[in-house]
C-alpha cells in the first residue's frame, strides 16, 4: 500500500522534504529510519513526475574521477539490496555497461579509466572492438576504436524505486502529500522556521530541498543562489521485442545510449548540443521534438544496424539539473540553520540518490562530517578548480 494522505498538511513537522522523486522520498525514508519522527514530503504533481520518472534508469560505475567511481560503487552495492529493503521489485538488472568510442584519440582515456576503476574495486575491463560483438551481436564494431565493459552495472525501473520508497515511507510514518506545492519559506534570523503550502502552513526547523530542476527556484526563496542550469533531454522506447540486448550500450563519441528494458522495449536517448539551458522554472519546455527522433534513429542504426526495422513507439522529454562540474550539490549552507539540499545531479540522480540520501540523512541527524558531502558542498565552485568527469555523456 502506498495510499497517501489527503486534506490539510500537519501544523508542525520535524522536517519538510520538498520533492516526491527519488531524492526526496529516499531522504525521507533514511531520516525516518534513523529515528526522526514527523516528516512531511511535498510533491506538486504525482510521485516521480519530475526528472526521476523521465530518466533511462541506468546505474553505472564507469567514470574517470575517483570520487564518482567510489560513490557509484557504493550505489551499486545498495541497489543490489534495494528490492529487499523496500519490499518492492525494482527490476534492477545487472546486464553491464558497454561504453564504446569511435574516436581512437579516446583510447588512452578508456585504458586509464579502467586502471583507476580497478584500483577502486570496480570490475571493468578494456575491450577491443571485435570482442564487443560477443556481448552485443549485431553491434557495428568496425566503426569502433575500443570499448570498456563493466559487468556489474545495469538498469532499474525508476517508478518501481519511487513506489518502493513511498511504501517504505508509509511504513515508517512519513506523510507524503501529492498535488501539494510549496509556496513560501519563513525564516527567523538564521533559522528555517516554517513553510507555506497549498494545503496549509507547517512549522518546521528543517527544510530539505530535493526539488530537482525546481531546486534553484526553491533555494532562491531562502536567499541561496545555486549555479544549476536546467536542460531538456529526450528519450524514447520502441515496441517490445524478445530479449536481444544484454548490456546498456553508451557511446562517449556520439552521445547515444540504449538498453533493453524488462518488458522487451529498446530504451534510449541521445544528447543534443544545440539544446538551450534555462535557469528558472517558468522557462521549462519539455515538449517532444521530431528532431530528437531523427537524430536518435540515425545514431542507433549507425551503431546497431539490426534496429533499422524496429519501431519507435513513444518519446518524451525530461529535465537535467546541471551543475558546472556535472556533480551533485549536497549539504547545507553556512548561516542558514536547518536548510539542506540534494540537487544538481546533472542527469545522474537516479543512479546516485539512494546513497546520497543515506549519507545526507546521517549527516543531518548526527552532524558528523562526511567526506563525500564535504567534497560536494555548494562552496566548492568558489574553492576548487572545476573538474568535469570525462565520461559525462549527452
Amino acid at each position: 500500500m502506498i495510499a497517501l494522505p489527503t486534506g490539510p498538511v500537519p501544523a508542525t513537522a520535524d522536517a519538510v522534504v520538498v520533492g516526491g522523486g527519488i531524492n526526496g522520498l529516499a531522504t525521507a525514508v533514511e531520516l525516518a529510519r534513523r529515528g526522526l519522527k514527523d516528516i512531511v514530503v511535498l510533491e506538486k504533481a504525482y510521485l516521480g513526475s519530475g526528472s526521476t520518472g523521465r530518466c533511462g534508469g541506468g546505474i553505472r560505475q564507469v567514470w574517470t574521477t575517483e570520487e564518482n567511481i567510489l560513490l557509484a560503487r557504493e550505489s551499486v552495492a545498495l541497489y543490489e539490496r534495494l528490492s529487499g529493503e523496500l519490499g518492492l521489485q525494482t527490476f534492477f538488472r545487472q546486464g553491464g555497461y558497454l561504453m564504446v568510442t569511435e574516436d581512437a584519440s579516446q583510447l588512452d582515456l578508456l585504458r586509464d579509466a579502467v586502471a583507476l576503476q580497478k584500483r577502486c574495486g570496480v570490475r571493468s575491463e578494456f575491450l577491443e572492438p571485435q570482442d564487443c560483438r560477443d556481448l552485443v551481436p549485431g553491434l557495428s564494431v568496425e566503426r569502433l576504436a575500443g570499448a570498456l565493459f563493466c559487468r556489474d552495472d545495469g538498469t532499474a525501473y525508476p517508478f518501481s524505486v519511487v513506489w518502493g520508497y513511498a511504501r517504505a515511507a508509509r511504513r515508517l510514518g512519513v506523510k507524503v502529500f501529492i498535488r501539494t506545492e510549496l509556496l513560501d519559506v519563513s525564516t527567523a534570523g538564521v533559522r528555517i522556521v516554517g513553510v507555506r503550502t497549498t494545503r496549509g502552513d507547517i512549522a518546521t526547523p528543517r527544510l530539505i530541498n530535493c526539488a530537482g530542476p525546481w531546486a534553484r527556484t526553491l533555494a532562491a526563496k531562502v536567499g541561496v543562489s545555486l549555479p544549476n542550469r536546467q536542460e531538456r533531454h529526450e528519450i524514447m522506447v520502441s515496441e517490445s521485442y524478445k530479449p536481444f540486448l544484454d548490456p546498456m550500450v553508451i557511446s562517449i563519441s556520439s552521445g547515444i545510449y540504449f538498453s533493453q528494458g524488462m518488458r522487451g522495449e529498446l530504451l534510449g536517448g541521445i544528447g543534443d548540443p544545440g539544446e538551450p539551458h534555462w535557469d528558472a522554472a517558468d522557462r521549462f519546455d519539455t515538449r517532444s521534438q521530431l528532431r530528437f527522433a531523427a537524430r536518435f534513429a540515425r545514431a542507433l542504426i549507425d551503431h546497431f544496424p539490426p534496429a533499422a526495422g524496429l519501431r519507435l513507439m513513444r518519446q518524451w522529454a525530461g529535465l537535467y539539473d546541471v551543475t558546472p562540474d556535472h556533480r551533485p550539490i549536497l549539504g547545507g549552507v553556512p548561516g542558514l540553520d536547518g536548510y539542506h539540499h540534494l540537487c544538481g545531479f546533472s542527469g545522474h540522480g537516479f543512479m546516485l540518490a539512494p546513497v546520497a540520501a543515506r549519507r545526507m540523512a546521517r549527516h543531518i541527524l548526527t552532524g558528523e562530517p562526511d567526506e563525500i558531502i564535504a567534497s560536494l558542498s555548494l562552496d566548492r565552485f568558489e574553492r576548487d578548480e572545476i573538474e568535469v568527469d570525462a565520461f559525462v555523456v549527452g
Partner: protein
C-alpha cells in the same frame, strides 16, 4: 477479480486495475505506469477512455474531473529506418520558446508548468 480486459495490448484486466487503485494509485498517470494500461503499441487509443471512465467510477467523481495522461508522439509506431531518413529538423526556435514562456506550451504537460 474481474477478468474483463481493459488494455488489450498489455493484457490488463479491470480486476488488476481496481487492485492497483486500492493500493493507492489514484491518478491515471500512476495507474498507467503501475499496471501498464495504455503503454502498449496502440499507446492508449483503445483503452485510455476506458481507464478514465473506470477511475471516475472508482473515485466517485464525474469523468471531466479525471486528468488524462500526457499524449506522446508518434501517433503510430514508426521504424527507425524511416526516422533516420529524415533530415533532422531544427530545434523549436527561440522565438517560439519566448512565446511559450508567455503562455504555457500545452495544458496536458503538467511538468512543464
Amino acid at each position: 477479480m474481474s477478468k474483463r480486459i481493459m488494455c488489450r495490448c498489455e493484457d490488463v484486466t479491470y480486476g488488476e486495475y481496481r487492485a492497483a487503485f486500492a493500493e493507492g494509485f489514484t491518478e491515471l498517470e500512476s495507474l498507467k505506469r503501475y499496471t501498464g494500461v495504455g503503454t502498449g503499441f496502440c499507446q492508449g487509443k483503445g483503452c485510455l477512455v476506458e481507464a478514465a471512465l473506470e477511475l471516475s467510477a472508482l473515485r466517485g467523481v464525474p469523468p471531466e474531473e479525471i486528468r488524462l495522461t500526457n499524449i506522446r508522439p508518434p501517433v503510430e509506431p514508426v521504424t527507425f529506418a524511416d526516422l533516420a531518413a529524415l533530415d533532422p529538423p531544427p530545434l523549436i526556435g527561440e522565438l517560439e520558446r519566448a512565446r511559450a514562456a508567455a503562455t504555457p506550451p500545452s495544458g496536458d504537460e503538467e511538468d512543464g508548468s
